[in-house]
Symmetry: C2
Subunit: 418 residues, 2 copies
């Protein structure tokens, strides 16, 4: 049933999300790496929906979709992404895109609303080719050289090759028109258990934590796994394992209350069962909203590497390959989401930082930005079992549409605005 | 200069080895995975050399080359392999094939020699598709189902696909003719430092150690690397690292004096920097000539896995995927090599076990077998820097040809036989 006050349609939101899940379905989730056939089909699906919201747009030269309105008045940008991690969940990305589409469908045709919601879909938020390439392109933070250098982490092809294959090579990349938008709003599943644990409906994001990423390389001596005595081995894989265990032992004494760290990828060289690895590499990530804590942990990491190298028999090198400063969410956006939550979610909201990276952190560098979280069942994400109750999806959509209305109306702090 | 007593030509041996190194060269070594273009070209090279030794042969349906002689009298089988590990050394395999070819070239045309040396080149000794598939096919230990199941560890293709691609599909596999050979002799680089350390020229192999291989699987919970608090993580990669360190701590107290163990391969699932690994797998190998020690270590491994699983948060499963009983080398073959070493290497030989697996262990299941080692510089192998002094290569060839002569003559224990 459409909501009378907003002409908002929860069933339409769910139907759209189901339609997107059917493109590239994998078990109860999806497999839509950036520029895969199901990803491109999802973008086409979005482009075809835009006119329903009075918007026009197409896929640009980096794979972004920007739906723009010719309506007068203030413009609010809203959106998320449509590609997925490999064999991952159905809501990470699509939820924010469909909420933005629904807000545009509800608010843009309404003559009582001054202005419009414009819908954005950012390419490669999931980092198959790099780090936030789509939103960075839009804010002007991505050079042609950056595009030249980007490679698919699933294969050996370059981003240029991928763009050619999907027919986007040569298209212009759409850049932000400074001053056009009053800000950017993005909805997302929480991907944690704060909301579920507190029986809450809405997370009002205060900041997005920074991500620091390191390549840690171990160098020993490649040799035969049968003929090389244990005493003379320089096993880079074992050196890596010891380093992982040392991090697990020493980081808790130096971290903050919300710090997290992860070794998500390990590679042994050459990685054959009968060969002692001469080289090993791990990708290591630290996340915190407090850069002082990150500094302290990075220092610890480097001194641990120096100690391990001095002890031998392998050398250890630490290289920082990604630096992420925390991004603050705009106060008036937080107030609008909180007010909408009082109206449509019984006030069951909480202010919280985001421990995951999102395109909103990139958009926040050129305009006010805000984020809204809905609950994740069991906190699970980046896995095909990721899910959210349909009722929570619908409640989140109502809050999102109302927050957009409040932001366009400029009545950001008003609680009873209907 | 050809050796007058044997018409043996050290320069020809070196020239052949250089020619094989030029096919699929990588730095100072080679890259010739099984059924790669340079591997197939190397096999063709060998087939074309066979007539020089009075032999006829071609590549069979599993990629073996068998050069057979029509000369009357006893036949000695000799050989090794021509594919390599990835980006590996130039001598591991080719040395034994060229020694065998040289022995056949010297002895087969000699009317004073009763019988002939027949040359074998076994496919896939390096295990790209399985475990000693070529020599196992020859001794009758490989079913068509085994071939169906074999897959390339470098890619996803099956052995059947690879055989089709290189034009070997449908060719018969040559099987051993029982009673044809008095035995099998194989030369190889030592791949260790025993000979170099003792300033010795020849290793007389007494036995080949068994290899036991295990797949150890860790199961945790895949989740988001930002939003999942440290306290609730079930990180399968960290569980694997801890297990590697525990092996390093506890195996020395239970192993024998010559036991070696290796984790050569680690895989995290899904292996992305922003995802906590929900699964992890390592391939773990133990080698010893004493099965009682292996039994003890396997028991330790399984009890460690049970302890780790009970402690949590991840479960650990140990699966034995390869069982290798030690293979004994024939006493008369050892005596022949030792006698030849006295004649051509100043007696600078030592009896020693082989800690690496070789096709001789497979051949030893159906005929007497022996192995001869030459020194490895720095003990390095399975790496492109693997090398042996040219002078040591030539000395080893002289010993090998003379050992073949002694075995054919049946004067296996005679020291002064020239």
């Amino acid at each position: 049933m459409p909501d009378k006050r907003l002409h908002f349609d929860g069933a339409r939101v769910l139907a759209d999300l189901y339609a997107l899940r059917a493109i590239g379905a994998y078990k109860s989730g999806v497999h839509k790496p950036t520029f895969s056939e199901p990803h491109m089909r999802s973008l086409e699906w979005l482009v075809q929906r835009l006119p329903e919201a009075g918007l026009a747009g197409e896929i640009d030269g980096i794979g972004n979709v920007l739906g723009t309105s010719s309506k007068s008045g203030p413009k609010l940008l809203a959106g998320s992404h449509l590609e997925s991690q490999n064999y991952a969940g159905w809501l990470d990305g699509p939820l924010g895109v469909v909420y933005a589409l629904e807000a545009a469908r509800v608010l843009n045709p309404d003559p009582d609303i001054n202005g419009a919601v414009e819908v954005a879909c950012w390419c490669d938020e999931e980092g198959h080719f790099g780090s936030f390439l789509g939103s960075r392109s839009y804010v002007g933070g991505l050079t042609e050289k950056d595009v030249d250098a980007a490679r698919d982490r699933n294969s050996d092809r370059t981003m240029r090759e991928a763009l050619r294959e999907v027919g986007l090579a040569g298209r212009p990349r759409v850049a932000a028109e400074r001053g056009r938008h009053i800000g950017y709003l993005e909805a997302h599943i929480e991907q944690g258990q704060t909301l579920e644990g507190g029986a809450l409906n809405v997370g009002v994001v205060t900041s997005i934590v920074g991500i620091w990423q390191y390549r840690i390389t171990f160098t020993g001596e490649q040799n035969h796994a049968g003929t090389t005595r244990m005493a003379v081995r320089k096993d880079a894989g074992l050196a890596l394992a010891k380093f992982c265990v040392a991090i697990d032992e020493r980081f808790p004494g130096a971290c903050g209350p919300r710090t997290v760290w992860t070794t998500g990828s390990i590679r042994l060289d050459p990685g054959a069962p009968s060969i002692i690895p001469g080289g090993a590499e791990m990708l290591f990530q630290i996340r915190d909203a407090d850069t002082a804590i990150i500094d302290r942990l990075e220092q610890l990491l480097r001194s641990m590497a120096a100690e391990a190298g001095a002890r031998g028999p392998c050398t250890v090198a630490v290289e920082r390959i990604r630096t992420g400063a925390p991004a603050m969410m705009d106060a008036s956006f937080q107030q609008a989401i909180e007010a909408a939550s009082k109206e449509f979610a019984g006030g069951k909201s909480i202010r919280m930082p985001s421990a995951a990276g999102h395109d909103a952190q990139i958009l926040s560098t050129i305009m006010p930005a805000g984020m809204l979280f809905v609950p994740s069942i069991g906190g699970i994400s980046h896995h095909w079992t990721e899910n959210t109750d349909d009722a929570d999806i619908v409640t989140g959509a109502a809050v999102f549409v109302d927050a957009c209305r409040r932001l366009l109306a400029g009545r950001r702090t008003s609680v009873n605005s209907t």
